[in-house]
Each structure stands twice: as C-alpha cells, then as structure tokens.
C-alpha cells in the first residue's frame, strides 16, 4: 500500500480544518491542522508535506511568505492558497511564486477537496473521494 498523503492545513478560521480534516482522513490522508502560521512553519521545518493549504491574510505572517518558505524547503510540495480577499493581482502573484492553485473564500468543502485531489494526482499519489455533488 502506498504512503498516505501528508497534508498541512493552515487557516485562522477553525471551521476550514474542522470540515476538511475528517473528509481527507477518511480517504487515507494524514492531516495536520494549524490556525497560526509560526507553529505551522515550525512543523514544516520538521517534516516534508505533500500538500500545504494556507490562508493568505493572517495576523502574524502573510500566506505568500508561507508559500515561499515551503517551496524553498521542499520544491515538490504543492501549495494551495485560499483567501477571502481575492483579486487578480494577488492570484497572479501567488501563481508566479509557485502556488499550485488559488481559491477564493467562501468556497464549498468540495471545491477544496477537488483541488487537493488534483494536487495528489500531480504528485502521482491519487486519492479517491467522490464529491458530494456526484455521490449517488
């Protein structure tokens, strides 16, 4: 059996981790949830994650800095940016800096799950979950 996908979720809104962790754990991912960037970066320094999902606007640190830090440490990690302040310039900046994808809040849990599945495919570690809108 292949290694489980290692995912780190960083969002100061607890609901994001609360909603996503069970769904991703159910399909065999190992998920660590953080609400503050400093402890999250500490964990990123200790462990290599396959996917990092990070909010952009946070009090202590900008999500762009998290993106740069993650990619400097592990260029293969897929970083997914989420934000409630989406604008073209910000989206383009994130992509230019190497983000895998960029999602505007509010989003449905399925939207993020689909992006995580896409990132897993790109890593050659596909995960199988059926989005709620396709479940029979």
């Amino acid at each position: 059996m292949s290694e489980p996908l290692q995912i780190l979720l960083l969002d100061d809104e607890a609901i994001v981790g609360k909603r996503l962790k069970p769904a991703l754990t159910k399909v065999g991912c190992e998920v660590e949830v953080f609400q503050e960037p400093i402890p999250a970066l500490g964990r990123i320094n200790e462990k290599t994650f396959d996917i990092v999902v990070t909010d952009i606007r946070m009090d202590e640190m900008d999500g762009m800095q998290v993106l740069e830090h993650v990619l400097a440490k592990s260029p293969d990690t897929k970083v997914i940016m989420i934000t409630g302040y989406a604008m073209i310039a910000l989206a383009r900046e994130a992509m230019e800096k190497g983000a895998f994808d960029f999602i505007a809040k509010p989003f449905k849990p399925d939207d993020l799950r689909k992006v995580i599945a896409k990132a897993a495919d790109a890593l050659g570690k596909p995960i199988d979950f059926t989005p709620a809108d396709q479940a029979s």
């Binding site: 992509m95 230019e96 190497g98 960029f102």
Partner: protein, 275 residues
C-alpha cells in the same frame, strides 16, 4: 491553459496578430465570425450585432438602450461560454470589456501606427492626409464614446490591459512573439479562482440575456451558484416583477438560487402622482 484577448484601435491589425498568435501557441481563434452563429442562435440580424459592438456609430446611437443591452448580452453570453474551453485567442468581440476577474486571461491592446493609418485612410477615401487625420481622430472619439456608454469605461485606458503594444515600433511578427512569450508566464495559468470567475461571468450573462427578453435595466451578478438580480420597479408591481425574475432566472441551467433587489422608480412614480 490561458486565454488571450486582443483588442485594437485598428481591426485589421487585431485580426492579423490574433491569427498569428493563435498559430504560434496552438490556440483556437475566436473572432467576429462568431457573430453569425450568435445571430442564428438568437434569431437576430448579424448587422445589428455588429452595430451593437460599435461598428456603425450613427446607427448605434439611434438604437434604443434596451435593444443595445439585449444585443450585447447575447454576444457576451456566447463569447464567455466559449472562453471557458481555454486555449483561445479572442479578438473583435469586445471581450476585453466584459471578461472581468479572470486572471488567466492575457489582455493585449494594440496601438496602430497612426501615420500608416492616416496614409491608408487618405488613399481609401481619396482625401488629403490632413483631412484623413481629422477623420481618424473623429473615429477614435466615437469608439471611446461607445465603450464609455456601453461598458462605462474608456477602452483606450492602458491600465485595463496586461500588455500594450505600439505597432509603430513593434512590427506584427515581433508582436506575435511578445504575446506568445507573455502568455507562457505562470501568472496567466488558470486556477480555481479564475476559472470559477469566468464560469460565473458566463452564467450571469446567460441569465441577463434571458431577463432582457422580458424586461429593462437588469444587473446580474453570480456568486457560488447564487444569482443576484438588481432591477427597477414601480411600488405596485414589485412582487410581480420579483416573482417573474425568480422564475426566469431560476429556469437557467446552473442557477441554484435567485436573490432579487428591486429599486423603486422614484422619479417616475413622483411624476405619476402629479398627473
């Protein structure tokens, strides 16, 4: 993959460069030929669609506001739905004015060589270059008026574009190379945010087209399948109009929920009360 939207103050150059760019990057070309399909699908005369895009300024000025909005909404709905396929170079359909919030769309503005244009107009119309210059200035002014009235913006404003190319300095081959290179930048890659915005723009245009068949002055926005329609109504017909909007918009594929905001026709109502 991305979308390239080319606009110009000279359609000849836009066509040539759009074709060249499409060939260079292996994208499909979407141009004014589409107006024929739109005309057939909506049972409209092609000439009217061209006029709505500002091709004939005097006819466009005489066109009723509702008719202009209807025709433009039809064009927008069809163009936006096609742009969702990606890998498209779009020109001559005014997409630079209604594709908004789509970060994977590279918007290019071509500035024609004025001296070359003056010579051409002078030759075509058999007039002096001095007169041709005035003719061109008038046409540019009309075009600016059109974009201002139709889309409330000045399409000659360079800040609207990602790339502005001066054809007096950069020839068409160099322009094609520049555009092909720029579209390869990572920042123009599609992402969930931008593809969703494009899909929402397309849905809003579709809903607007349907609503304008039955009423005037509607503004449609879409967010997460939720359609927000803003319109005007007399106090006495508010309920009826809201119900009609919900029924029409709700019938469009992809619409999950319709929210209606109606503003009173304050001045008209005041005028009526004095009758």
């Amino acid at each position: 993959m991305s979308i390239i939207i080319i606009s110009s103050d000279s359609l000849d150059h836009a066509e040539q460069i759009a074709e060249g760019a499409a060939e260079a990057v292996g994208y499909q070309l979407l141009g004014p030929d589409l107006l024929g399909d739109i005309a057939a699908a909506h049972k409209l005369p092609v000439e009217k669609l061209k006029e709505a895009l500002g091709a004939n300024h005097s006819k466009w000025r005489r066109m009723r506001t509702k008719r202009r909005a209807q025709l433009l909404a039809c064009i927008e709905a069809e163009v936006l739905s096609r742009l969702m396929a990606d890998r498209i170079v779009c020109w001559g359909l005014a997409a630079h004015l209604y594709v908004e919030g789509v970060s994977h769309a590279l918007k290019v503005r071509l500035l024609a060589d004025t001296r070359e244009q003056v010579k051409l107009v002078a030759l075509q119309r058999d007039i002096s270059e001095q007169r041709a210059e005035k003719v061109l200035q008038r046409e540019k002014l009309k075009q600016a008026q059109w974009s201002q009235i139709a889309y409330n913006c000045d399409e000659s404003d360079p800040s609207m574009y990602d790339l502005v190319i001066n054809l007096a300095q950069i020839n068409p081959d160099e322009s094609i190379k520049t555009i092909s290179g720029a579209v390869g930048y990572r920042k123009f890659q599609p992402m969930t945010y931008s593809t969703k915005n494009l899909a929402e723009c397309a849905l809003a245009a579709k809903v607007k087209t349907r609503l304008l068949e039955n009423m005037n002055e509607v503004r449609v926005q879409v967010r997460d399948g939720r359609v927000v329609v803003t319109s005007k109504a007399f106090k006495r017909e508010r309920q009826k109009k809201a119900a009609a909007i919900k029924e029409i918009a709700g019938g469009v594929e992809g619409v999950e929920f319709v929210e209606v905001h109606l503003i009173n026709y304050v001045i008209r109502e005041a005028a009526e009360s004095f009758r």
